[in-house]
Amino acid sequence: MAMKLCAGLLVLLFAGAVHAADHSNLEQDFPTRVEDAYPIAYRAMEFQASGAYEHGGDHGRHAGEFEPEIKWGFMKNAHVALGAPLVFPGDGDMKNNGDIALEGLYNFNVETPVFPALAVKTELTFPSGVDSAGVDVEVAAIATRGFGAHRFHLNGIYRHLGAAGAGERSDLFSFGLGYDRPIDLDHLFVADFFIDRSPQAGGAEEFGFNLGVRKQLNPWSVLAVGLGSGFGASRTPDLRATVGAQWSF
């Protein structure tokens, strides 16, 4: 009965609209970390799956990551997303795998020749995963401003860990600068650079960057590939390769 009710609710929520994918609407880790200030369209729905390989860094010599995410434009200028980030480290420690992340993004304005587009994003990560504890809360301020065909994105992120471990900080900050430019009508070049406060008390700041391409495959799907690296601390990966696909329906 509950299943039928849920299915009926989903049909009511999502029936009525179909969304064309948009390779120029940047999402986190697809393939860059920095995102733009725009949500998906009202009544649109997207499913996205991205995977990454990391060499070196805090997950050991080799590690894999996978994140499925579903996104819904529930009102004009806003969306919510539900994701489940999974990490498969070389040492086999599956801690936190199975946590559920709920995200909401609201865009205040469209950019003008003088003023950037601004958005606020909040994310709650629930401790539903392996050996997980405490709800993590993240708040991000996002700005997007273009000059000609060049677009720049500024992300400022505060994250509070609900249950920081011994020797870990509970309050973390990140800043990222992203860039994108059309290669042609189907391909978008993307890049970003970011600084993270180390989660370890007394740890040095961590730096990283990504370069990548987002390709519009057809009206309803986008492919993203990227390469990145980190520096400034032993925790950052030497190499990070990302691939992802997104379907709009």
Binding site: A20, H23, R43, N109, N218
Partner: protein, 344 residues
């Protein structure tokens, strides 16, 4: 403690500055809305990929002109030739998919977001109707029901839906096109591009009409291939001498959905109006003038009752013939304007 207090005050001051700036700035939201869901979605892309990809070039060119005009090219005739050449190259190397207008004309999007919004929203309706006509699973007798559903959805966003009233009402009575100081400012310097757009405005409706005439999957595929060949081999080289109205090129479809036919005429006219405003030295505040015209062209209560108020001069037109009526003469535009104007 003292340090924390300073940080708080700085944060509050930053927020105050942010909100003050936002309130002073010309505040607009993106308000993007998804297209209507139906079993027919993407049927045209799947069944007629060549035409879909070629069509993206028409939409690219329409967006690109706004971008170039904003940059005020020193020699407009040279810019006209360059854009025309690039469009011809694109027709030989079309993209896989169609980007939104703000991808093609980002500076114009920052300048006048609502213009991008009304164009993209009307392109969504266009894609819906192509999909419905291309879908062999929808019986011919049911096409109108689905088309009306898509038009209803389009009109349900009145802040970005063009009026379904005909050219005579929207362009002549509301916009008062011929008495505007910017009227025909674009056409004089952009002769090649203007004629290319008139060719595009024959092509899109011609595809509607062959879909009406050839609803079966295989026959429709052959007919659209023939229209595309006709467009590339003949119409581009010998374009119409004016902007054709929907009723001239797709009279059957215009009778099936007069609302949609008028909406597309209004979109095509809006493109021309925008180019005139951007090209005109008479208009200082481009954004305000573009927005004033959008407000005049949007749907108003009662507009649907006016939708069918237009003649169809050649109701049995053969879209595959590209007859002399299409290429020469005053046409409907000249008749409405009451003189030899060849339109926009």
């Amino acid at each position: 403690m003292k340090k924390r207090s300073v940080v708080r005050r700085m944060g509050a001051a930053g927020l105050a500055v942010l909100f003050f700036t936002l309130s002073c700035a010309s505040w607009e939201q993106r308000n993007e809305v998804s297209a209507l869901r139906g079993s027919y979605n993407y049927q045209f892309y799947k069944r007629h990929p060549r035409d879909f990809k070629l069509t993206t070039v028409a939409h690219w060119a329409h967006g690109k002109v706004s971008e170039i005009l904003l940059e005020k090219p020193r020699d407009p005739a040279e810019a006209d030739q360059a854009l025309y050449d690039k469009a011809l190259w694109f027709l030989g190397h079309p993209p896989e998919t169609e980007p939104h207008q703000d991808y093609v004309s980002p500076q114009f999007a920052r300048q006048a977001w609502r213009a991008i919004q009304v164009i993209d929203w009307t392109h969504q309706l266009h894609e819906q109707l192509y999909d419905i006509l291309a879908d062999p699973a929808i019986p011919v007798g049911e096409k109108k029901k689905w088309i009306d559903r898509a038009v209803d959805y389009y009109l349900s966003e009145p802040s970005m839906a063009f009026s379904p009233a005909p050219f005579e009402e929207v362009i002549m009575s509301r916009v008062r096109l011929t008495s505007q100081p910017w009227f025909m400012a674009f056409r004089d310097d952009w002769k090649l591009t203007s004629k290319m757009f008139w060719a595009f405005h024959w092509w899109h409706p011609a595809v509607y009409e062959v879909q009406m005439l050839f609803p079966g999957a295989d026959e429709q595929k052959r007919a659209i291939e023939a229209i595309d060949d006709l467009f590339l081999d003949r119409v581009l080289k010998e374009p119409p001498n004016r902007m054709l109205l929907s009723r001239e090129v797709m009279p059957r479809f215009a009778r099936l959905s007069p609302e949609a036919a008028n909406i597309f005429d209004n979109l095509h006219m809006f493109h021309g109006i925008t180019y005139d405003i951007l090209a005109s030295a008479e208009v200082k505040d481009k954004r305000a003038e573009v927005y004033r015209n959008i407000d005049l062209m949007l749907v108003r209560p009662g507009d649907r009752r006016l939708a069918g108020n237009f003649p169809t001069p050649v109701p049995e037109v053969d879209p595959l013939a590209y007859s002399k009526d299409m290429r020469q003469g005053p046409g409907e535009m000249g008749r409405i304007m009451g003189h030899g104007h060849h339109g926009h």
